[in-house]
């Protein structure tokens, strides 16, 4: 059967069958239900999605059940009560409240329909009043009108779900087995999104996969690099695969704005905020938590933006992302969010609050998880004008037991920094001076893994120095601080345990007058980049903290981003489209050698593909470190081969180019010679250009400027 039938074909067929075409409305012809006449629809996917949306025009109607059954006399009173409850939430349409009455008994039936102006109001009403206690025996059950049909369809008998035959998926971690041990990264420039290998040996990237309009706003790797998430108007999608990128799962969430993976990449949190129908209201926020692999919504949270703003006071500043913070570790066991005077901790087994209630903490404004253990650090600011001190406390989950607490006085602000192994917690405390006119900064250092969690106070030598940046060495015991006044602050390094005294923090060194405002430790530790981003023109200093020496200095003008690759071998500096010009990125080696640079107009994003933690046991890792020479030999030989090959190819290429050029030159010379006479003719016989060599002659010109005679007397 032809895919497309032309109108002529149709006419011919009609004539054959003696059908009068003019009496027929072709558009009215419908295929029998369930029959496709052998034409397979190519948008099977779409159909599936459609079943998720119930746009049937009754979206703004809710059904309120469990109303009292009242006789006719009380009808008006009940209606009044219901109307009062529901008109608080939104505007009920005129004649939008209908309470059916049993014609036999003249009593109400115990339910009513309410029609709002907008589906949003209806949704809100459902959320707010479902479970509303009118009195002890009348607890409202509120549902969307559209949902009723769905509920009716639920079969009475439970049928076991069909078990689909297991189809092995692709190896989603194939990229880790790259023979050249390269890393991947994704870039977004213009409308294109590209995934590339960083081939540092060849000094250029190698394309893995590219796609135009892959995402509508941004892309994001999952924390272990298995998936690449794209964000669209309809929701989010994740991509992955052995050799290329194919779609693995879709997560429907209209107008999704932000996404966040759990650290073990089991769950995906999506967020959207919607314009309120009434401009005085705050934005409505919808958050869904999906299971990444099955695509199922595990839990959704809806509410006004106020409820999700940190500390319940945000309002204007809006929601700070991520709303839900995941506890450390790869098990994705707990996640938490902060509310007004509470911290709500959920566990992922049931997606319910631990012990069914939130942790009550008066006035809590900030919290953070340890990156490895289920420990929460909470910060409560000073209250009552200093009568009640500010507090930082560590809380164990799920026991909710307070492990350690520290009271702090005259605090203006606090920031918490966890070391990546969860060994240490640094709390940067800004305190008021006595006059309360200015602030100064100190650090409270918690040693989490030691008995009783000792706390140490660290103050900078110059207490009035402003802290510009702070960063822990990943997996290490050191941290770096940029302090001082712009534009040339100092950079100091401290160690939590140095040689002799392991229990005390000690300063390693201070570098004076650096053009830096950001710190970027190598993920393997030891090396750090002191970067002067944006305003400081992109100065880069590659510093070795083991040797306490600068390895190299560089500049990437107007760099906005610095990203280490997950192995700490290479680092990328990028200028993204926040700057109009020079968009693109530079790839450096860890010791500050510029390897290559790529320029891209409208450069939006650069992200290294993260790697999961090493699968090697600590013993094996130690063994490798010990016998590094043996292992590195092999790679060095490979490197050499590649560079030999490259220089060989390069030489060959140059030779070819030179030869080709010589051919051109020869040809031109010949033609030039041929045309010599004609050129001469054009110049009226004057000898042609380069044939007559002119020579420079020195000409002396004497000019008589003035002549005057003077009599000079001899005395």
């Amino acid at each position: 059967m032809a895919d497309v039938m032309s109108m002529d074909d149709i006419r011919a067929t009609a004539a054959r069958l003696n059908v009068d075409l003019s009496s027929l409305d072709l558009d009215s012809i419908r295929l029998p239900a369930g029959e496709d006449f052998g034409v397979i629809s190519d948008d099977e996917d779409l159909k599936k999605d459609e079943s998720l949306e119930f746009e049937e025009g009754f979206g703004n109607i809710i059904v309120v059940d469990n109303l009292p059954v009242v006789p006719k006399e009380k009808f008006e009173k009940l209606e009044g009560v219901v109307r009062k409850i529901y008109s608080q939430i939104g505007v009920i349409k005129e004649d939008g409240l209908w309470m059916p009455v049993d014609p036999d008994t003249q009593k109400t039936l115990g339910y009513c329909f309410i029609e709002y102006n907008t589906p949003q109001e209806a949704e809100l009403a459902k959320e707010k009043t479902n479970g509303y206690k009118l009195d002890r025996s009348h607890i409202f059950a509120v549902n969307m009108f559209d949902d009723i049909e769905k509920f009716m369809k639920v079969p009475e008998e439970w049928a076991p779900p069909e078990t689909k035959p297991y189809t092995p998926g692709e190896n989603l971690q194939k990229w880790l087995t790259d023979e050249k041990a390269r890393d991947q990264f994704v870039i977004r420039a213009g409308s294109d999104t590209e995934v590339l290998w960083n081939d540092a040996r060849q000094s250029k990237p190698e394309l893995v996969y590219t796609r135009t309009y892959w995402t509508e706003s941004f892309v994001q790797w999952s924390p272990m690099g298995t998936y690449l998430a794209t964000v669209h108007r309809q929701g989010a999608q994740v991509w992955g695969g052995a050799t290329t990128f194919s779609r693995l799962m879709r997560y429907a969430h209209p107008q999704v704005k932000l996404i966040d993976f759990s650290p073990g990449e089991r769950f995906l949190v999506t967020y959207s905020s919607h314009e309120p129908s009434n401009p005085r209201d705050t934005h409505r926020v919808v958050i869904n938590i999906f299971d990444v692999r099955t695509g199922k919504v595990m839990r959704d949270f809806k509410g006004s933006a106020d409820e999700f703003a940190i500390g319940g006071t945000g309002g204007v500043s809006g929601v700070s992302w991520p709303v839900f913070r995941w506890s450390g570790g790869k098990d994705d066991k707990y996640f938490a969010r902060i509310g007004k005077n509470v911290v709500s901790v959920y566990e992922t087994e049931t997606f319910a609050l631990i012990d069914k209630k939130s942790i009550k903490v008066e006035n809590v404004i900030d919290f953070s998880w340890s990156p490895t253990d289920p420990i929460l650090a909470l910060f409560v600011p000073e209250l009552g004008g200093g009568n009640q001190p500010a507090r930082v406390s560590l809380v164990q989950i799920p026991s909710k037991e307070e492990l350690r607490q520290k009271n702090l006085f005259s605090v203006s602000d606090c920031k918490m920094y966890w070391q990546s192994n969860g060994d240490y917690l640094a709390v940067k405390v800004d305190r008021y001076t006595k006059t309360k006119k200015s602030t100064y900064t100190g650090f409270e250092l918690f040693r989490i893994k030691e008995r009783d969690i000792p706390i140490e106070v660290l103050e900078l030598e110059n207490k009035n120095d402003k802290i510009i940046a702070f960063a822990w060495e990943p997996k290490g015991h050191r941290f770096a601080v940029i302090h001082g006044d712009n534009p040339r602050p100092d950079v100091s390094f401290y160690s939590m345990r140095s040689g002799t005294n392991t229990g005390r923090v000690s300063k390693l060194t201070t570098l004076k007058g650096k053009q830096a405002n950001a710190l970027f430790w190598s993920p393997a530790g030891r090396f750090i980049i002191l970067a002067g981003l944006k305003g400081l023109n992109g100065q880069l200093e590659f510093y070795n903290v083991d040797e306490l020496e600068t390895m190299a200095q560089g500049e990437h003008f107007m760099a906005t981003d610095v990203e280490w690759d997950p192995t700490g071998r290479y680092v990328v500096t990028a200028v993204t489209s926040v700057h109009e010009m020079e968009n693109g990125f530079n790839v450096w080696s860890f010791n500050g050698k510029l390897l290559y640079r790529i320029l891209k107009d409208h450069f939006f994003q650069f992200l290294w593909r993260p790697r999961p933690p090493s699968f090697l046991s600590p013993e094996k890792e130690e063994e490798i470190a010990k016998n590094l020479k043996k292992y590195s030999k092999k790679y060095e030989a490979e490197d050499q081969d590649v560079s030999m090959l490259l220089s060989e190819q390069d030489r060959e290429k140059r030779r070819m180019l030179k030869e080709e050029w010589e051919r051109w030159i020869g040809e031109w010379k010949r033609l030039h010679e041929e045309e010599k006479l004609e050129r001469q003719k054009l110049r009226d016989g004057e000898a042609s250009d380069e044939e007559e060599e002119y020579e420079a002659k020195e000409v002396e010109i004497e000019e008589l400027l003035d002549v005057s005679e003077e009599v000079i007397s001899f005395d």
Partner: protein, 329 residues
């Protein structure tokens, strides 16, 4: 060597040209006065006063006696180089953009911009040997070529004055028959420039030429066959190009549009004259200095110095250090 800064123009430079002997440098700018300088020490010799609009380009006769200039005041003028007196004026109905003497200096090609409904055009004019010799009669064009869309930024003579090569805003390079006015060749859309061509510079022997374009590249073409030989890729729009007559080097100048120039840092704009190896198309180095995009570049015919003219109104004269001649790639 330190460059010589020549401040004689009050407006952005538009064009630079050395005479054949390489002792004089002629500069055109958006102010109305083309200027002549000593190419050796940058001393100003004089100006040519008479135009009433920006001067877009100039050319010097082989014997350095005549200068032709094209101006936005809708005229092209012929000057006596020595005295600075205008000898003759060609009047057009739209601004004159590019001028070029043919071999023998008896004809010149002048392009005019699209203006007030007029399309752009390439005019071929006769130049009389003797200025008094009935100049008025030869003000008429010998031939007028029309066709290209938008401005024609440059038109020069091909070998033996048989062809005219034009390039401009419609990104195409065209070769015309200078006798019949027939379009002979057109550059391939695929391999050609993707954005307007801003400049065109012939090699010393005229066998090949270099074009610079806003698409951030310069291309080297064979004059006779219009075959693409090389492409030089850079990071900025190219406003000016030139080739060393001595070494296999090409120089590209540019920078973003004057309207997009930032006020932050001169490094941001990268207003450098970039040197490329002509054969390997690899970047060799750059010469910094201008506080704005480079609009004009010219190589001294002896290959030992070059001049750049910028949007900043300066002409910078660079004499190469001895080690320039020892660059090995």
């Amino acid at each position: 060597m330190r460059p010589i800064l020549m401040k004689g123009h009050e407006r952005p430079l538009t064009f630079l040209k050395y005479n054949r002997d390489g002792d004089l440098l002629f500069s055109c700018a958006k102010d109305h006065n083309p200027t002549v300088w000593f190419a050796d020490n940058g001393e100003r010799l004089g100006t040519y006063r008479g135009h009433n609009g920006a001067v877009w380009s100039c050319d010097i006769s082989r014997d350095s006696s005549r200068l032709i200039t094209g101006s936005a005041d809708q005229t092209a003028k012929i000057w006596d180089v020595k005295s600075g007196t205008p000898l003759f004026t060609f009047n057009f109905d739209s601004p004159a953009r590019s001028v070029d003497f043919a071999v023998g200096d008896q004809i010149a090609v002048i392009t005019t911009d699209p203006f007030m409904g007029l399309t752009s055009a390439i005019h071929i004019k006769h130049i009389a040997r003797d200025p008094d010799d009935r100049m008025a009669e030869i003000g008429e064009s010998v031939l007028i070529l029309k066709g290209p869309q938008g401005r024609i930024n440059r038109a020069v003579w091909g070998p033996l004055n048989r062809t005219i090569i034009s390039a401009g805003e419609d990104t195409l390079i065209r070769i015309w028959d200078s006798e019949t006015g027939k379009l002979l060749k057109e550059s391939d859309k695929e391999e050609g420039h993707k954005k307007p061509i801003t400049s065109l510079s012939k090699s010393a022997d005229g066998s090949h030429f270099l074009t610079g374009s806003l698409d951030k590249s310069a291309k080297l073409w064979d004059t006779r066959s219009l075959k693409l030989i090389k492409t030089y890729v850079t990071e900025r729009p190219v406003n000016a190009v030139t080739m060393s007559p001595l070494l296999d080097h090409v120089v590209l100048g540019g920078g973003q549009d004057a309207s997009a120039v930032t006020t932050t840092d001169h490094r941001a704009g990268k207003f450098e004259a970039k040197f490329y190896d002509k054969i390997l198309t690899e970047e060799i180095g750059g010469v910094k200095g201008h506080f704005g995009p480079i609009n004009a570049l010219a190589f001294n015919p002896d290959g030992r110095s070059f001049a750049s003219g910028g949007e900043d109104g300066y002409v910078r004269l660079h004499h190469f250090d001895p080690d320039y001649f020892n660059i090995k790639l």
